[in-house]
């Protein structure tokens, strides 16, 4: 009976894993197909690989002189800077804000948390024009700093919410003991509490990085030439036959890889953080 249950569980998990991995696998497969192979019916699984998509995305070969290949490497660099910087700032500020919301009782605390979460509810299109006007007035359009600030603003509410949940799971007695023994709040926070929410920070950083890395709406309007990020750059792939799907798939593959590497590096912390976060939130 137990073996049967385990077998069934394995089957379900395998099916779910395949279901989750299939789109990624299709993305990588399609990135290696020519336009003819991409549209063939039935779909081809055996074909002669075509690397023109990757060549275009990386600005190599024939496509070097094409307007469409200009700035691709820069776009990749911009994406790394904007996503990393935005993630760092969102996690830093979100951690501090989440701790404050978890530990201190202040007027409007619940409203503050709802406000923080509501920033995730607004569709970017609704505030795009205001951001554009505002950034133009202060000279932040087409700058990495501007986009970094935008990604920070986008993720700060979410980071605050997630981190508050993790801090709620850390017993307050730990800090009380430190405070009683004469240590400062900051000492207790940095030396005692933070190590206990390492996993939560990793999980928060992971989510923030994904959202920052994939951010399109603000980047497409607020950047022109200097700060264009890779999602915007890749989306512009069009040639004489229409949309250059090979380039788009190759660009998608290039976009997925850094995120996959990042999540691989933090996987242990992620697992710990996710499960601890679940237990922690149940305690409050």
């Amino acid at each position: 009976m137990k073996a049967r249950g385990r077998w069934l569980g394995s089957l379900v998990l395998t099916a779910f894993a395949l279901f989750s991995v299939c789109p990624i696998a299709w993305l990588f497969l399609s990135s290696l197909k020519s336009r003819q192979d991409l549209f063939s019916l039935p779909p081809k699984f055996w074909f002669t690989p075509d690397l023109t998509g990757y060549a275009a995305v990386l600005g190599l070969g024939v496509s070097e002189n094409a307007a469409g290949s200009v700035g691709l490497a820069d776009a990749l660099f911009n994406s790394v800077i904007v996503a990393s910087g935005g993630t760092f700032m969102a996690v830093l500020l979100g951690t501090l804000a989440g701790y404050a919301a978890s530990r201190f009782r202040f007027f409007g605390r619940n409203d503050f948390m709802f406000f923080a979460l509501s920033t995730r509810m607004i569709p970017p299109v609704a505030v795009l024009v205001f951001y554009h006007v505002m950034f133009a007035r202060i000279g932040l359009t087409d700058t990495l700093l501007g986009l970094g600030l935008v990604t920070t603003f986008i993720n700060l509410g979410l980071a605050t919410w997630i981190m508050k949940g993790f801090f709620d799971g850390v017993p307050q007695e730990i800090e009380s003991i430190a405070l009683i023994n004469g240590y400062s709040r900051m000492y207790a926070f940095v030396r005692l509490v933070l190590p206990m929410v390492k996993g939560g920070i990793a999980a928060t950083a992971g989510f923030c990085f994904i959202f920052s890395w994939n951010e399109f709406a603000f980047s497409s309007i607020l950047s022109n030439t200097h700060s264009k990020t890779l999602p915007v750059r890749v989306s512009s792939a069009m040639g004489s036959s229409g949309i250059e799907w090979g380039q788009i798939f190759a660009g998608g593959a290039v976009l997925v890889i850094p995120v996959a590497i990042f999540f691989y590096l933090i996987r242990r912390h992620l697992l710990m953080g996710m499960t601890f976060g679940v237990l922690g939130s149940k305690g409050r």
Binding site: S34, Q36, A67, L128, H132, S220, N224, M238, G242
Partner: protein
Amino acid sequence: MNRQRMMRKPGSATLIAIAAAGLMSAASAQQTTLTFVWHAGTCADKFYEIAKDYPDKNVSMVPSLVPYGPEWHNKIASEFAIKGDGFDIAMWDSQDAAEFAGGGHAYSMNKVFESSKVLKPELFDAASLARYGEYPDGSGKFWGMPANQDAFGMIYRKDLFNDPKEQAAFKKKYGRDLKVPQTYQDAKQVAEFFTRPSEGMYGWGQMGGREYDFATSASNGFLWSYGGELYNPKTYEVKGYLNSPASVEGVQAYVDMFKFAPAGSASWGWDEVNAAFQQGKLAMATNWFYFFGSMADPKTNKFADQTGFANAPGAIGSDGKFRRQVSVGGQGMGINIYSKKIPTVVKFMEWYLQPAQQKRYAEVCQTGLKSVIDSPDWQKSNRYNKLFAKAITLTNDYWHLPEYSILLDQLQEEISNASSGKKTVKQALDAAAEKNERTLIKAGYKIVRTANIPAVPDQIVTPSGMAKVEELAPAD
């Protein structure tokens, strides 16, 4: 003495450093970067490639490319909204000229024509210049020049049309010869003949997507060819024109063609039409001339050798007259009025719009320069250029009004409602006419009602009806 020498040395070094810095800053100050905004594609690539050969090496061109579609319009519009100089040259969709010019964001081309010894209106066909840069219509005020002209054409499988068995079967069924249709009435029969779902073959392919201008780019050709009109540009009436019997008949013909197209094609854009044809699913399809180069290329179209090119059909309207009108496409090239480098931009354009550069451009795209478009050399350089030179004379366009994008979205929605079967064509066009007029009234236009609008409003707006069908030979 040594101390004095030592004190002199830093002084000398400092002077040299200052001089070097001065030279460097002078050199960098002379470097000018011009930015152009366009949707990504072959024409932007070619423009950029040509711009690299600009003789003034202190001026370099930088592309700011956006995806084709609403993001392209939004990118330009949002930069204009903040009066920004994020780009110096804007290649806008032909229909956007009125919005951007009307908003005061484009530098006057009349000023350029007056001051430049090189750039003159006569370089371009009058109709082309009007299409891509004049606002208001007929005012003689220009805000852009044709950067890339485009129009709707037709592609077909000449192996199917030239097959003796197919010809015999068609003749047996319809009592006439199988040939590339000159009217939508003919096209319907030919499409029906070639629609064989069990063989994976369909007779017709056309755009129908709700997004951007996909559906209306295709349906407008039917509407105009049947003698319909989108509105009356003199009186701003829409009711009686957009929902006239001729317009309804035209759009109905467009909707009926989906019966001979693959399932789901009512949501197609140009990319899906291209893909379906390249897979051998379609006997005929209408699309932009922009894509004909790839249709003739075996690397992208495995049926390239069997692909024939033709002008899009016309129609015989209820008044018995033949009309052939197709949607105009392409882009105009305007100067951002907020750019701080306008004189440099003008100098660049004076060089770029020379025949030498435009001949290079015309190797892959359709220039607006009259001398190149009209030249026999260019028209003979491939199988479809001559057809394009004819097609550009058959073009009609959307409303040349700043409210164009709102009017377009309303018409797109209703055409989409008609092709999906949510509404009848009459209901859809009635609704579109109502919405369009409300938009115009809200924008401050005074609608002057005309008594006795004819069932075929083309008769009073832009009369183009002919007594008999004009036969335009395809290019095999």
